[in-house]
Amino acid sequence: MKKMSLNHIKYLLDKYLEGKTSLKEEETLIDFFQSGDIPEELEQYTAEFSHYGISRSEEPGDLVQDTIDSLNLEAKVRSNFYASPWYRVAATFLLVAVAFLSGYGLNVRNDLQNEVHSLKDELLDLKETTVQVMLKGESSHQRIQALVIASQLETVSEELIGNVLATFNEDKSPMVRSVALEFLGMHSQSESVRSVLVNLLQEQDLLSLQIELLWLIQESGDEQLIEELRELLDSTDVSEELKEEIKLVIQNDKTQSI
């Protein structure tokens, strides 16, 4: 048995030299040479593979962490600045001025076709702006309406997706959150939505919406997302009920792939 596995290691070492080993096989080599019990004939490879093993655990220290902490501080100061009424007045004035001037510029320079095109874009922008404004409205009815209109838009900006993500996380009405999720489902192919689906699961505090989100992840059939789900099973921050649901999804995914 020992001899066979030794032959296997030798075979992997040859393959490794040719640059043909898979990541898993390289992992096997690193594990083997770090295990301590190395036969003499393979001793010469120990240092190299131990080095890779050690280098994997190198992490930055306090200086980098202090830098990151200082960013959070800056973000707080900045958000206070943006919240000041003078900033808003100045920024709005600027926006209106830029819109006016660029509109003027377009009229002078562009031919009719371009103008139609830009008008279409402007209309789309206008629709999106309306949605954004309604999304911040006081009544949940208004916010739901915003999401319904948003779902009808042909193309949506990253900004709008970002705001809907925030609505799904934070809106006080579960109904609004649920409609927001529907919108996100329509855009689950977009990288900015897909990449945060599992994170959303952790941030969301309503089990019903967590389950809906899980379905969405399952529907996407994305291997990486399923893998991220699997990691959640080991997390202490995830509730037992959610873990049960996650297990179901993972199991389902396996049966489908068989």
Binding site: L63, D66, E138, L165
Partner: protein, 182 residues
Amino acid sequence: MSGFQTGMRLIGVDSRMNDIFFKQKVISKKGMMFRAALRILGNRADAEDATSEAILKLWVKRDQLNRYENLDRILYTVVKNQCLDMLRANNSFLPIQEEFKLYSQDTSSDSKANERLDKVKKIINSLPDKQKMMMHFRMTEGYSMQKIADLMNEKVNTVEVTLSRARKKIREQYEKDVTQSH
């Protein structure tokens, strides 16, 4: 609330999303950036400096980061350039030495094993930059050939060949060093 007021509120909404994006996509990669800097600069203190500087630079540009499809490549490029700037600024830079010192302070009591590790490290450090970084991404970060190709703007085939060349060189040189020391 009037529509006007609501419109005002919209300003600044975007920046909060960018902060979240930054945390998820950049700060989570601080280890990767640090290890790449460590490989280029050769000592922890400078690698931490370079990583911190790179994070600050990326933070300033965070509004533009979500436009990039291959963000890891941007992260690597920023940290690499930061390292190269530091190397240029400091002519008397001796990249490898200090790291060796740290290495030998490792808890392991086996000095012979440490000596051999140092030998390997010296050989890897002396590889041409491309070979060194490809080996780093493959063996330390465990990245796929495709990902390394994307990060370093090379073809997958080139990555395979370069890795093979580097591995052969490491083995040959190590065997040579060991026989010499005997």
